[in-house]
Symmetry: C2
Subunit: 242 residues, 2 copies
């Protein structure tokens, strides 16, 4: 049973069993947080990196007048910061969406491990490349895609991310977000998210009930989103033999 962290990183580089062990040893001890609780708040000194082991979390910022923007979602296996540096003070908050288990990792240990192990270093850089590429897609979504396209793209991306850690298949995945959280994540309002979900349902693209998202027509959904997974850079890994 490999951890989601290792499972994800194996899409970016060839990791041996020993590499996997080294990574998992870093990810201890395990902490927990309840749903809706903050792991780190804006202004806090972080002290460590945060690695999500189980459950969903998010990076968000809150404006003075209450407007809230979820900047990124973090899924099992996700490292919430670039691994090599910690800010002295957080410029955003890190919140648990569901109940989560997470590990706190010191960046100097992470750096030491990467320095000692080229495969692990490669995998971590690939992870940063992916993180960064998803950020870029988000800018495109927010800047140029209509609500339905944006939502469709979001679903396609989430499905692929979850598939990389064995939490989604072709037919769908568990989506623990309520509509107001979806709204904060997509730069829309809850009411409009509702209408847009209804639209996708009416078009026969998806179903969503009791937190279970089912993709009824994957091709039509991808077409609407114009979703092209090249930005996941899954071709980055050389063949893993020997």
């Amino acid at each position: 049973m490999t951890s989601p962290f290792v499972q994800k990183l194996r899409h970016g580089a060839c990791l041996t069993e020993e590499d996997a062990l080294l990574l998992d040893q870093l990810a201890r001890p395990v902490h927990v947080a309840q749903a809706h609780h903050d792991i780190l708040m804006e202004g806090d000194p972080p002290h460590t990196l945060t690695l999500i082991l189980e459950g969903w979390a998010c990076r968000y910022k809150q404006l003075d007048d209450g407007r809230r923007q979820i900047i990124a979602l973090f899924l099992p296996g996700d490292l919430c910061e670039p691994y090599g540096i910690l800010p002295h003070f957080m410029d955003h908050s890190l919140g648990a969406i569901t109940a989560i288990r997470y590990a706190r990792i010191r960046p100097d240990e992470m750096r030491a491990l990467a320095r000692a192990n080229a495969r692990i270093e490669e995998a971590l850089w690939w992870d940063m490349l992916l993180q960064s590429a998803m950020q870029h897609e988000q800018t495109v979504s927010f800047g140029r895609r209509l609500a339905a396209e944006r939502l469709a793209h979001f679903i396609c991306e989430l499905r692929l991310r979850l598939a990389l850690v064995g939490l989604a298949d072709e037919t769908g995945f568990e989506l623990p977000l309520i509509q107001s959280q979806l709204a904060d994540a997509m730069g829309l309002t809850a009411v409009h998210i509702n209408r847009t979900l209804m639209e996708l349902r009416a078009a026969g693209l998806i179903e969503l009930q009791r937190k279970q998202l089912t993709i009824r027509d994957p091709e039509a959904l991808r077409n609407l989103a114009v979703f092209d997974p090249v930005y996941f850079h899954l071709d980055q890994r050389k063949d893993c033999n020997g």
Copy 2:
């Protein structure tokens, strides 16, 4: 005369004269590109990192139907990718806005230099932290800020970035973007950028003529943007003495 790259990095770590020399030696030979020309196009294999030495460039994506989104602007001293890895194929394009001078750097050389020199490594990680933080602010802008707030924030951020490399002072800076480029950078249309600029001018916040942007009322502009530069992490550097 220190290069903008070194000048910027010195805000993130204490670099000696020797460090500066090492960095500048990496940034050779120098290439040029004309305004409006692409340095790299989506799908290209990049071979090297790109470091902007002079002029403005941008990362952008083009959708099938012609919609275009500028994802990031690159100013003198900016590295256009995370320094440790190259994708096999570009998932976006890199275009020159003005005529530019740039250097092509091999990531393995960059990594070797960072590995050999802790100060340089620290500076490069700080640069990534800043790059990433700006991306986050952009998500907040696109998701939750009105056009005038978004534009005001954009101007405040640009002014500070340019100030870090000596290309802006309190009163303003040269802004080589035409309004349709501004629009592509901010997720709006050229017409609305025009109206919003007019609005900021009418409110006495800025002037903009012949590519020269003058900030008439810095405090009012910051207030409108709710611009807080903590996300630049300028406190990250320890005191540079001895």
